[in-house]
Symmetry: none
């Protein structure tokens, strides 16, 4: 923990302020004046605790990663049941935990700064991203062993399971301010749990029924969109 210079509260306040500015503006556009202001101190005081702007950024990133890392660890200790029973609540929890730990904003920051700070991207990857994928992958593997889940690369299944939530979070984070199509994350988690478990498809018989229904004269275009859309 090289980046933690002092034992008292100051560094933590600075780091909190730094996270908020860095996630908001990005590294390059962040002014240390702004960080100091949000931390309630003078700009020069930053240099009592950190050597450079980069130092502050790294400390902020590490701190931000930590809480997410802890959260992943906590999720890991969940009880052992079938995937079908567990997945919906797991996805809901992922969303809650992610929001509690500012995961979307920090993930976005990692995406933005990963070229300038590849070592930080690696830490996030190793400590957070990979761990979440590993957690899901392990669940899938266990379910495969139990015969609950079909054959297939469990790591790709992990993408199938978590990808939509990630996409939803990024959508909110990036377009949330103006898009009316931003998905409701909880609804997404619940519907996706079902979707990924049982698929989009109806059994053939239902399809036949639906075909009959369709031939009875209902317009095939956009009948349910309006009803189901969250616009």
């Amino acid at each position: 923990m090289r980046w933690q210079r002092r034992k008292d509260a100051r560094p933590a306040e600075i780091v909190d302020a730094a996270i908020s500015v860095f996630t908001e503006k990005g590294y390059a556009a962040t002014r240390l004046d702004e960080v100091a202001k949000r931390a309630g101190i003078a700009k020069g005081t930053l240099y009592l605790y950190f050597d450079t702007k980069e130092d502050i950024f790294r400390a902020a990133a590490h701190h931000a990663f930590e809480s997410n890392l802890d959260a992943v660890g906590a999720a890991d200790s969940a009880p052992w049941t079938s995937l079908r029973e567990r997945l919906p609540e797991l996805l809901l929890r992922l969303i809650d935990v992610a929001n509690e730990n500012r995961f979307p904003a920090i993930f976005r920051m990692v995406i933005s700064e990963s070229r300038l700070f590849p070592d930080l991207a690696r830490i996030w990857h190793d400590d957070v991203a990979s761990r979440i994928l590993d957690l899901i992958t392990t669940l899938v593997v266990q379910a495969q062993i139990r015969g609950e889940v079909r054959d297939g690369d469990p790591r790709l299944f992990a993408f199938s399971i978590t990808g939509p939530l990630l996409a939803g979070m990024l959508f909110r984070e990036t377009y949330g301010a103006f898009s009316s199509h931003t998905p409701e994350l909880q609804a997404l988690a619940l519907q996706h749990a079902t979707t990924v478990l049982d698929g989009l498809m109806l059994p053939a018989q239902a399809q036949a029924d639906a075909s009959t229904f369709k031939s009875s004269g209902v317009h095939p275009d956009e009948p349910r969109i309006t009803g189901a859309s969250n616009i």
Copy 2:
């Protein structure tokens, strides 16, 4: 008239150079010296074609958006078949088209700069992101009408369908340089097509079989991972 040709080509050359630097460093960290250097011109020459750095950025963004916008439009005119038949190839095509048009890098840039340039984020949202989601949503709705796809919010289904690919692309883009877990996008597309259509779950009978199998002494931890993983 070698120069005349150059004069016409200059803005495009600059825009190309700009896209490469901006996507690499982000707006704030991009030095116009670097852009000029990559375009093979002097810094002052940039100002013959653009008024400000912001101008260059906007031109670069618009140009980058355009090719993706065109690609989405092209994908839209696909033939009319069942979702089951169409989805795998559609996802494969999405990946190809995305890569051809530097979609991941540009998407990443949009994510990074959306706070500083909300208008650009909106354009990307309206012209690219929303359109892709709309395209998928429409397919789903039509399939629902045909009785092919189950009830549910088709817009959330669109996230279930595209989210994993997006996550995979971002994963490559962000950690690709060092992660050994980066998913193979084509494999992901194919497996995810099946997954999202039919679900992860095996029929109950298969589960019973698998349970039997499992109780026969095989270690439940990571048996197939090594086989299926792309490590």
Copy 3:
């Protein structure tokens, strides 16, 4: 005439354009783009006739001085009469000639740039300013010799004679755009001719009369200002 590069019309057009821009904006704020535009040529063409911006400025200044120099010479050959008879028309002519030759604008430019181009200021001084003063000084000396004009430094008399006109011109040039107090130069010339010849003062008897008049009840403040003012 080092500054005249070519014999054809081009240089003259450039010089004319240059005078107009330089007098308008000053040396530093003048853009050669603007000069070229007003001359109806491309910027690069300027360099076929002149080596540097300074060169153009010097050529423009010399040309502008020349016409004024010629005008002073012409005024010099005026007929020989008494100062009283000659002064009014002389001042009127000075004003006409000055305006015809853009004297106020050029004088203003000389004032503005005299520190940056002291050699030009010296030329203007020697060729124009001093000559005008010498012309007047000589008239005064001659009048003194004739006993027409009282004792005193004739060079200072020259300031007494020409200063008000100069001040009026500068006033117009500098505040003319917005001041409602800008003097009418012809009226100034005529009234000043009388003033400087015979003085402001009334004979003592007139003063006594006026005092009587005043005691008859007229308000002492601003009675004639409104009537006589040129506002």
Copy 4:
């Protein structure tokens, strides 16, 4: 608290330095490096106290105007006497006050920059130039009421009274560095006071005498003039 003192003094130091550079070089040719250097600070320090170069210029101009404005106000409270008694000392005082307040240099700067900063020219006009003219105009009007001064537009009389001094100041300011004919301002003020009060002309009898005198061969006054001319 040496610094505290400095901090308070800084803006004034900067403004002083700025006045000196701006009056010397003009706005466009002034380099902020030079201003900083003369103020004994680094370039960046300027921006702790002012936002832009224009800001610094305006502050300098306002400050320079202020002292002249105050000086005009002070002159206004002069005692009430006849114009004949008052004018010589008034003109002498005007010259002293003008020099003390760098009036010539600042007036020159106003002339130079009035096109780029018409609002400043207006302020100078309203606060300084007009006020001086008004002060003189009022004196003249009062003298006219008393019967001391002849009929005529008192505002034009104000030009007749002040113009030579102004011309003399500008002459010094513009050609002072090299002209050997630069008028001595105090001598000019005194001689002009007499001239403008009583006129250049001698009474007819004196003229007759002078003619006689002249014919006797003696030079009546400074026939050195021709010798002193700088033609």
